[in-house]
Symmetry: C2
Subunit: 98 residues, 2 copies
């Protein structure tokens, strides 16, 4: 779930972890860094993203994440799955409405 949201964000361009935390937190999809960093490690291990260290204009260096081709494929595969899933839930919720 979150995993694919991250991929979607990366599809919009390179991002670094701390930035992703802020963005996802603002969107109400994430609580803390303890979630995202292990997730990003996983994505890297599965080669859905590639990373590059780059210096920050001010502060410690950042690790930037970018989609790989496999990551793009995973994302594309997720879109219809999400559409189906969310519409299934919508229908259930609708059905139970008094």
């Amino acid at each position: 779930m979150l995993e694919h949201c991250v991929l979607a964000l990366l599809a919009g361009g390179e991002r670094y972890g701390y930035d992703l935390v802020a963005e996802l937190s603002a969107a109400g999809l994430l609580a803390s860094e303890g979630t995202i960093y292990p997730l990003l490690s996983r994505l890297r291990k599965e080669q859905l993203v590639k990373t590059a260290w780059r210096e920050s204009p001010s502060g410690p260096p950042r690790r930037y994440y970018a989609l790989t081709e496999r990551g793009q494929v995973a994302l594309d595969g997720f879109r219809p799955a999400w559409a189906e899933f969310s519409s299934a839930v919508d229908k259930l919720l609708e059905r139970g409405r008094t």
Copy 2:
């Protein structure tokens, strides 16, 4: 997530576990009984549902589940949360579209 989907189904009337499994499986939201029975136990423990044993016209007795008032409240609280969540995901996926 699933928890609230079950509540939504129960909002449409009494159901028994085995039936819920079939319904949720058909909707693609559930894999097996190993998920639903512990979930139903939880709901009962939190008093979001109440249960009643009733005999089946053919086969072993069934345990029927029905929403309690608290369950209804939980369900009502979930609807807007789901709407917000799913639209947040929609936006992310949209944003990453090439």
